[in-house]
């Protein structure tokens, strides 16, 4: 029964992408997130410069790129953890530029972090409960009257227990989160994000530092998110994982989106190969090319000398 629904959801996601152009910024049939001209500069360095990007609802989209491509910075901007210098982006049609991180999360766009942020001195259960939204007991004055939040707390606990069971953390319920292993922390962080009730889950390197035995279970959990109707956008370096679970891949290099496409063909795209390995990686340089580069370099040097003089 589970396998059936997997195939249908995956098929639906794949059908949405069928016949799409491979160009960066290609329009999707039903985008949940639309990004326009987002720019982030650190002094003279342009870390992010994304002209247009759409994320298809109900799909698993991977965001890949070489180190320093600006993936995490881009993530931080979309989720309100860093401010963008220019541009706009809309989640479900709601403009999010300048919206602080906690409000972004409340709209249903929830992220995890590359370096897991388990709240060490809280128990696993407390970590989970924290994720629930609109808690009455989180108001200072109502907190003083336990009767006003007890019932809601019980409901939250019940929901948390279901999620913990699903993520196989139920035996760790009352342990400090700080005592979990790296992989268990990743699971806890994902489960905690689900407590928020997100529509779009943004995972920043979900596989970083996870032991191989847990990788499969983590992959299955990510696929489950799509089965439950959520949209997933994740940053990842591990291409095997990207090929395994993503429906669509967006490639960033030097701050810009350079290509998009389905996971099985994206790595053979010339632009992607160039971005990862450099434009001249496999062709031996001809004598003319060498001469040309030499002249270019000389011209540059001369220009520099003239400028100084």
């Amino acid at each position: 029964m589970h396998a059936d629904s997997t195939t249908t959801r995956k098929a639906a996601a794949l059908a949405a992408f069928a016949g799409l152009d491979r160009e960066p910024g290609v329009a999707k049939p039903d985008p949940i997130l639309v990004v326009d001209n987002v720019v982030r500069r650190f002094g003279g360095l342009t870390a992010v410069d994304v002209a247009h990007l759409e994320i298809q609802r109900g799909s698993i989209t991977a965001l890949i790129g070489p180190n320093g491509a600006g993936k995490t910075t881009f993530f931080n901007q979309l989720t309100g953890f860093d401010s963008a210098d220019e541009g706009s982006w809309a989640f479900n049609g709601k403009q999010l530029k300048g919206v602080p991180a906690h409000r972004v999360a409340r709209t249903g766009m929830v992220r995890t972090f590359q370096l897991t942020k388990a709240l060490s001195k809280l128990t696993v259960m407390e970590n989970m409960r924290l994720g629930a939204q609109n808690q009455r007991g989180e108001n200072f004055f109502r907190a003083l009257v336990p009767g006003s939040w007890r019932q809601q707390e019980d409901e939250i606990t019940e929901r948390a227990e279901e999620l913990l069971e699903r993520f196989k953390l139920n035996t760790k319920r009352d342990d400090f989160a700080g005592s979990l292993s790296g992989g268990q922390r990743k699971l806890l962080e994902m489960a905690r994000a689900l407590m928020v009730g997100p529509e779009l889950v943004m995972l920043d390197e979900p596989m970083a530092g996870v032991n191989p035995a847990l990788t499969q279970s983590l992959l299955a959990h990510v696929k489950d998110l799509r089965e439950e109707g959520m949209t997933v956008l994740f940053v990842e370096h591990d291409m095997d994982m990207v090929r395994d679970i993503s429906d669509w891949v967006v490639v960033m290099a030097q701050g810009a989106v350079i290509a998009e496409g389905p996971p099985d063909t994206i790595m053979s795209d010339q632009r992607v190969v160039d971005a990862y390995l450099g434009a001249h990686h496999d062709a031996p340089m001809s004598a003319e090319e060498f001469e040309e580069q030499l002249q270019e370099a000389e011209a540059e040097l001369e220009a520099e000398i003239e400028e100084k003089a």
Binding site: P100, A101, H102, L122, E126, L130, L144, G178
Partner: protein
């Protein structure tokens, strides 16, 4: 050596005015630092503005006592906002720097010559506690068990003090068991994670700063009333550091740790101080120690004792060793 006298003063110190004042200040620090992870190094300023707010209202402007209390409370809240608004969005270290500087600014303004007509310069203000002691239900006499007894004024102030401590501990207990307290503790661990879960971190940090300041300011009122006088140098930075020592001694993020910590801290100080001075006057110590320098020696010995305690019991008296072990990972 008059061991009897040493014993009596030591027992009295465990519930005395200093213990009450420092316990309230430390409960405030425990809310801010122990639970929310805010490094407020200006707790002395919160007590100072409260004490001065009340004293100046009554002594300088001859307004009613309760208005003085209201102004003291208001001044504390204003100070918390002044310190919090620019710094709570930044990293924790900035709050520490700003609060320690602000505490000194507050103290120096109180003792400045320029404002001595209002704040009374380095002499401070007196003659404001009349209304408070007029409410004293105890008739003149001494109250207590045998030699451990206090006169009616001290009994009244200690009664009020311990009732306030009980209320504050109850408040902290209720709050920290609630989802509100959970958010606070989570902010201490990692505020970005809390933000990513849709909580307004800035607002919670501000609430913690204001609440901790308000609890501390009750200690400021009692300090001023108990001594029937305020002086600027009572609210120097050592005051804040003693409050931190007390919190860490008792064990951070525990409801009763500031109270027990304050009692132990003052018992140690008074016991060591009195024993030393008795020993000096009995000629039992080398001539290196004199009546003039045993005050400093007392702090050295207490400091040594606290160091040993933290080496052998780093989690404090009430702390959980497992939590300290987590930090080492």
């Amino acid at each position: 050596m008059d061991w009897n006298a040493i014993l009596i003063t030591t027992v009295k110190a465990s519930i005395g005015l200093e213990t009450v004042v420092y316990a309230l200040a430390a409960i405030g620090v425990n809310i801010q630092f122990g639970y929310a992870g805010l490094l407020n190094f200006g707790q002395a300023a919160f007590l100072g503005v409260a004490a001065y707010g009340m004293a100046v209202t009554v002594a300088t402007f001859h307004l009613p006592f309760w208005l003085g209390i209201a102004i003291g409370l208001a001044a504390t809240v204003v100070l918390a906002f002044l310190l919090g608004i620019p710094t709570l969005r930044l990293r924790a270290d900035y709050l520490a720097i700003v609060t320690i500087a602000a505490a000194e600014i507050v103290r120096l303004v109180f003792r400045s010559v320029k404002f001595s007509s209002v704040f009374g310069g380095s002499d401070g203000r007196q003659n404001f506690s009349g209304d408070f002691f007029a409410m004293n239900p105890y008739s003149p006499g001494t109250y207590g068990i045998g030699p451990i007894s206090f006169n009616e004024r001290v009994t009244w102030i200690l009664t009020v003090g311990w009732v306030l401590i009980a209320i504050c501990c109850g408040l902290v207990y209720l709050l920290m068991k609630s989802p509100w307290g959970r958010v606070l503790k989570a902010i201490r661990e990692d505020e970005d994670a809390v933000r990513s879960l849709g909580k307004n971190v800035f607002s919670y940090k501000m609430q913690a700063l204001v609440l901790g300041g308000l609890v501390g300011c009750l200690g400021g009122f009692l300090f001023a009333l108990g001594q029937a006088s305020v002086q600027p140098d009572l609210f120097s930075t050592e005051f804040t550091f003693y409050a931190y020592t007390i919190v860490i001694l008792g064990g951070a993020a525990r409801v009763f740790s500031p109270v027990v910590g304050a009692a132990i801290f003052w018992v140690l100080l008074v016991f060591v101080g009195n024993t030393l001075s008795e020993a000096v006057s009995a000629g039992m110590l080398p001539s290196l120690f004199t009546v003039n320098n045993i005050g400093a020696v007392r702090f050295m010995l207490v400091g040594l004792g606290l160091m040993l305690l933290l080496i052998f019991r780093p989690q404090g008296i009430f702390g959980d060793k497992r939590e300290i072990a987590l930090d080492a990972r």
